[in-house]
Amino acid sequence: MPRKLVAVLAALLVLAVACGEASDDSAGESGAQGGCELSDPPTLEGGTLTVATDRPAYPPWFEGSPKDYSGFEGDLAAAIAERMDLDIKWVVEPFNKSYAPGAKNYDFDINQISITPERAQAVDFSDGYFNNNQGFLAAEGSDIGGATSLGDLEGAQLGAQVGTTSLAFINERIQPESDPKVFDTTNDVKSALESGQIDALVTDVVTTVYLRDFEIKGTEVIGQYPTEEPFGMVFEKESPLVDCVNQVLEELKGDGTLDGLQEKWLQDYLGVPELSD
């Protein structure tokens, strides 16, 4: 029996080494994509731009039903499709699956995903289309309500959604006395704030204002911290489409369309006092 066990372990090791070696050469290269013909964009389905986002999708990023999303990101994707002369089709892609290897059933994923160098090793990002700040939402009249700096938040029990840059921000910049609580979805962070399990919820500032106005009664946005992380659309590594989308994005920035969308959807959400270090 022990000999058999050793044999199994040895075989497993062979397996691990085989996979490990095979992977070495593919690591670390950044996606260098050549020119992309805007007149004939290399999409998954001819004539259609298939765009993915998570579900539930939150306003004001997304409004309406998955059949025809509007909202800031919904309209942006629609504008990109229009400039490419394509129909748009929406599919659902959970955030945690967006970086899985293997064939995708969409052209790109747009889901408030921050561009970071680590992530860019695994996927390709479009250029940024929005600069995100971290926002802090707490119960009205709580002890941390008067916070003016990140230091004032050190003693609070903070909570964030898993996979967000908010969590990394808490750990790196605030370094609170007690470990932050981490939840699967924004809804769960919301429940924890409502039931008093956490003192403050940390997410992008737009979402905090949305939650205050429409979802959780009796809360206030304490402030925002200007991290200015760019949101980018996520493509499969080496996707030939990135260049086309970037060209269109450049156009939309140049002719004021992107600013218009930001004004239309996000204006009400950005007037929040800034916290100092």
Partner: protein, 304 residues
């Protein structure tokens, strides 16, 4: 496994020398075949990079400035498992005993036990976690509503797994032949004494393998407590994965779970084998009445 003295010189007790050779060879060939298929698959590069990247495996195990260490987070799983297991062993036994109490006076107690096991075996653990973890603090009941999410998590695990384990105990109790109780009663033992000294010792020993099976399940399900906010191994892996866009951290978490589960599984095998040997040796298990080994004075050697 376990009894090396016996197997020395004649190969595996189960297989014999030649069979061991054949089984070893076939095992090696099987895994080589799997390794070759995986290595030659068109996507093996990318899958290897995303799931078995050495740097990410190491880094996620130890943690980074922004992502917690998977190894450290795993200690929380172990802690929750140990506390929950101790409570479940006792609570489930109480439920099983209550369910077996005879007499019309005790009907409401039996009914509660039945309803309890029906409900908590049927409701998915994640739902119980949500109801306890977000519901109870929402009630605003002072002390009860201000416990940590880990406490609520353990309560949910105990509620669900006690229902399973109670049924396992009950199956064990039912499997002890009626004549055992009858013999015990005829010796002058009370109903409780015959349960305590005659039925339970036999019942518990019979159900140890399924009990441990449930505990392996419990061990893995501690990962679900993370929905309430605390960072255990699977959650730590998820955080690392989302930060680096790499799944290697999940592999690390999986290996940690397996590392703890394998000894438990081997221990179960060992108990089963020992039990079989004892029975084959002709002696009845401690507790059994009506056989040579079953004199009442060596009865209380219970959970053997």
């Amino acid at each position: 496994m376990g009894d090396t003295k016996r197997s020395a010189g004649r190969g595996s007790r189960l297989l014999g020398n030649r069979a061991v050779l054949v089984s070893t060879t076939s095992t090696i060939l099987f895994f080589i075949a799997v390794a070759v298929v995986v290595a030659l698959a068109p996507g093996s590069d990318i899958v290897g990079e995303r799931f078995l990247n050495w740097v990410h495996l190491k880094q996620s195990l130890l943690g980074t400035a922004t992502a917690p260490s998977v190894a450290e987070a795993f200690l929380l799983n172990v802690r929750m498992f140990m506390i929950a297991e101790a409570i479940i062993l006792v609570l489930a036994l109480v439920i099983a005993l209550v369910r077996g109490v005879p007499g019309p006076v005790f009907f409401p107690f039996r009914a509660v036990a039945v309803v309890y096991t029906d409900i908590f075996r049927g409701v998915p653990l994640i739902l119980v976690l949500y109801m306890i973890g977000f519901g109870v603090p929402g009630l605003g009941l002072g002390y009860v509503s201000t416990r940590s999410d880990i406490t609520y998590g353990i309560i949910a695990l105990v509620l669900v797994y006690s229902a399973y384990v109670a049924e396992v105990y009950r199956a064990g109790i039912d499997s002890v032949h009626q004549s055992q109780t009858a013999a015990a009663r005829s010796l002058g033992l009370s109903r409780w004494q015959s349960m305590r000294f005659v039925v339970l010792p036999q019942a518990v020993r019979r159900v140890i393998p399924p009990l441990l099976n449930d505990f392996i399940g419990l061990q893995k399900d501690t990962a679900l407590v993370s929905v309430l906010g605390s960072i255990e191994a699977a959650r730590a892996a998820q955080i690392y994965g989302a930060e680096q866009f790499n799944y290697s951290a999940y592999v690390v978490a999986a290996l940690l779970f397996v590392l703890v589960t394998i000894p438990l599984a081997r221990f179960t095998d060992h108990l089963i084998a020992r039990d079989r040997r004892r029975r084959e040796a002709g002696g009845a298990a401690p507790g059994a009445l009506g056989t040579a080994a079953g004199a009442p004075h060596d009865v209380p050697g219970t959970i053997g």
